[in-house]
């Protein structure tokens, strides 16, 4: 980071202020990393609590009600507050560099997106201390979510609404950035695959999140303002929630997995010293998965009673997705084939991903077989399926991506020994935890139950599963230690420690805060590699050295999000007493006020002058 030397001289308060007001995509990436990492640890602790409860039959480590809360918050936290932000961390850190841009298209909105996510997540977790967390599952199916007593589900609704707005903003921002801000010569078919997947994922966010927004609004009105959208006794229909949730929910799982595919498509070619096999097919498969992702949502509802015609259509559409996914798996294998392979931590995670994810895809086709799903549905088999795709796909990708881009983000390479310890314990623990759950499911163990009975041959499997969970926790702790060790003891490396192929490795370390002194001229796919094969070390500039226009930092995004956070409490508690409406108005006042200030106050940013750039070079 360009500012590390600077921040060391700054005091703590100055650094804090710097991060609260930053609009620099590199620093926002760090914020997403910290936020997502925090919630990942929180969700992990919840997972451990679940596994401890299930280590023996009829256990009473937690009460039934509290189990529901932990189970709900584990899923919600992991999907919305851990996986998504960690992926946004990678996107923010990498995409502008990969396309040769100085920042994202809307730096102010970038910061707003982060703070909305952060405050939404905090609001959701405040529920722990205010009478109990949401307990209707991460899917919050009506009518349970409508009648669930207390304020838990209200926190779910408001928290996700606020952080969802942040996600939507981030998605739009990346779309505009990738369409408009590519360096000269960077055509669409020269974009690295991580950029491509970010692009498709942003489009998915744009089209999928509104369904969640609407569903949450309806649920909010049912719970807080006495409407009856999901209440059959008032003429409503609770199945509509399920549809809305999965119209969002299925694209959401692809929002998570596509960037993971992008990460592996960067890591594998770099450490195989070969260009990605079948680049065009990879791009095409990504776009196709994006489209198909919208046409399969009802496969989560086979047992609702939609009838054989609907079930068949959605089953076939779902299985169709396995085709482009399979194309990708083979392309990675062909990239490896005959390559000059170097195995380090980033590569280990990528190699571990291929078989793990393939197992998840295979069970995916199994659960997509509608008649068979009557057996699998709501059993531990489904739990095993989605953990194989989400952990074996998304989490592995986050680890791979962090190892790969850590030197770009922080200037140092993560410790390899500790990295390998993390990989092997986590990998082994992961399969130990979830492989056995397939069989527990087939033996009839239902998901989301706090207890199971003795003498049903479920004991051994659950013990094994819990042991695996602790192995994963151990791996995660070693990773945190790794970060600390690397930060304190690691050595600064060059800007291109992996002998990389794409544009981000053409930038020196630390990355200057304007990224590129002169925008580079891109001459093909793997832009940096092309120059290397022709004996050059860097890309030719596409413009003369000139003043650089940069955005100004701003505290407004933080204040705007804080306002919504405060208003959230007003919304939730006004059902208890109308005086809470004051809180609502204060919160909304703060948000609307800052929006007003932002609209009328011109902020043209600042220029870094040519002379100063020359100075720096010397």
């Amino acid at each position: 980071m360009s500012s590390t030397t600077m921040t060391q001289k700054q005091g703590f308060a100055a650094t804090l202020w710097d991060y609260l007001t930053t609009v620099d995509h590199k620093k926002i990436a760090v914020l997403y990393l910290i936020g997502g990492g925090f919630f990942f640890i929180l969700g992990g602790l919840e997972a451990l609590a679940i596994r401890i409860q299930l280590i023996q039959p009829n256990n009473d480590f937690v009460s039934n009600g509290f189990y529901n809360e932990i189970m709900t918050m584990h899923g919600t936290t992991m999907i919305f507050l851990a996986a998504m932000p960690l992926i946004f961390a990678l996107m923010n850190a990498v995409v502008p560099l990969q396309i040769g841009a100085r920042d994202v298209a809307f730096p102010f909105l970038n910061s707003l997106g982060f703070w909305l996510f952060a405050f939404g997540g905090i609001l959701l977790n405040c529920s722990w201390f205010l009478g109990g967390a949401p307990d209707a599952g991460w899917t919050a199916y009506a009518p349970l979510s409508v009648v669930s007593p207390g304020h838990g589900v209200d926190f779910y609704v408001l928290g996700l609404q606020i952080s969802g707005a942040g996600t939507l903003i981030a998605g739009i921002n990346f779309l505009v950035t990738i369409i408009n801000m590519r360096a000269p010569g960077m055509t669409y078919m020269r974009m690295p695959l991580f950029t491509w997947t970010t692009f498709v994922v942003s489009a998915l966010i744009l089209f999928a999140f509104p369904a969640l927004t609407i569903g949450l609004f309806l649920l909010m009105f049912d719970r807080l303002f006495g409407s009856g959208f999901f209440d059959a006794s008032l003429g409503g229909n609770s199945i509509i929630w399920e549809h809305l949730f999965w119209i969002f929910g299925h694209p959401e799982v692809y929002i998570l997995i596509l960037p993971a595919f992008g990460v592996f498509s960067e890591v594998i070619p770099t450490f195989s010293k070969k260009r990605l096999f079948g680049y065009t097919a990879m791009v095409f498969a990504t776009v196709l998965i994006g489209f198909l992702g919208f046409m399969v949502w009802a496969h989560h509802m086979f047992t609702v009673g939609m009838g054989p015609a609907a079930n068949s259509i959605f089953a076939v559409a779902t299985m169709a997705i396995a085709v482009p996914t399979g194309i990708k798996i083979f392309n990675w294998l062909f990239t490896l084939w005959g390559g000059n392979i170097k195995i380090n931590s980033a590569m280990l995670w990528s190699l571990g991903f291929i078989p793990s994810f393939t197992i998840g895809g295979m069970t995916g086709v199994m659960v997509a077989t509608a008649p068979a799903d009557y057996q699998y549905h709501d059993s531990y088999f489904v739990v095993a399926h989605f953990h194989y795709v989400i952990v074996g796909g998304v989490v592995f990708a986050i680890f791979a991506g962090l190892h790969y881009w850590w030197p770009k983000m922080f200037g140092k390479i993560l410790n390899e020994t500790l990295g390998k310890i993390t990989f092997w314990t986590f990998f082994f623990g992961f399969h130990l935890t979830f492989m056995i759950q397939h069989f527990l499911g087939l033996m009839g163990m239902p998901r989301r139950y706090a207890v199971y009975l003795p003498n049903q041959e479920l004991e051994l499997g659950n013990v094994i599963s819990t042991i695996g969970a602790f192995l994963m926790a151990f791996g995660a702790i070693v990773f945190v230690i790794n970060i600390i060790v690397t930060t304190t003891k690691g050595e600064q490396v060059s800007g291109d420690p992996w002998n990389g192929r794409t544009l981000e490795w053409a930038i020196p370390n630390p990355v200057p805060h304007y990224n590129f002194k002169q925008l580079p001229l891109v001459r093909g796919l793997d832009a940096l590699w092309i120059e290397k094969t022709e004996g050059r070390k860097e890309l030719a500039p596409a413009e003369p050295l000139d003043d650089i226009h940069m955005p100004n930092p701003s505290i407004l995004p933080f204040v705007m999000s804080l306002g919504l956070f405060i208003a959230g409490f007003g919304f939730i508690y006004q059902v208890d007493h109308p005086s809470w409406l004051i809180v609502l108005f204060i919160g909304m006042g703060i948000t609307l006020g800052t929006m007003f200030i932002r609209s009328i106050k011109d902020d043209h940013g600042h220029h870094i002058h040519k002379e100063d750039l020359d100075e720096e070079a010397r």
Binding site: A203, F207, A211, I239, I247, F291, M295, W297, M306
Partner: protein
């Protein structure tokens, strides 16, 4: 010389476009008048509503192609995104309607 023909061509094209814009603008006003007239008259609802939708769709197309220049070069990506979005939204709404109310 080459520049001149280019300029002439540009001028001619602009004129052509202007003509089209005026025509579509007039058509859009006519459509709007028809729409209002139909709502005011006491024709059958089942007849009026679909026609209103049809008129609306045609107006959107006019707007996009004649006023926002979507047929021009450099608009492929927005066009792709819009049609992609419309496609996904249409399928979703169709699926949802069929599944929930059928």
């Amino acid at each position: 010389m080459a520049e001149n023909t280019n300029l002439d061509y540009q001028k001619k094209k602009n004129k052509e476009e202007m003509k089209q814009q005026v025509i579509t603008f007039a058509l859009m006003i006519v459509f709007t008048i028809i729409a209002f007239a139909m709502v005011l008259s006491d024709l059958d609802k089942l007849f009026v509503v679909p026609i209103l939708f049809l008129l609306a769709v045609v107006q959107v197309i006019f707007q996009l192609y004649y006023f926002m220049h979507m047929s021009h070069k450099g608009h492929e990506m927005p066009a792709f995104m819009m049609y992609g979005g419309i496609f996904a939204a249409f399928l979703t709404l169709l699926g949802l309607t069929v599944l929930v109310w059928w």
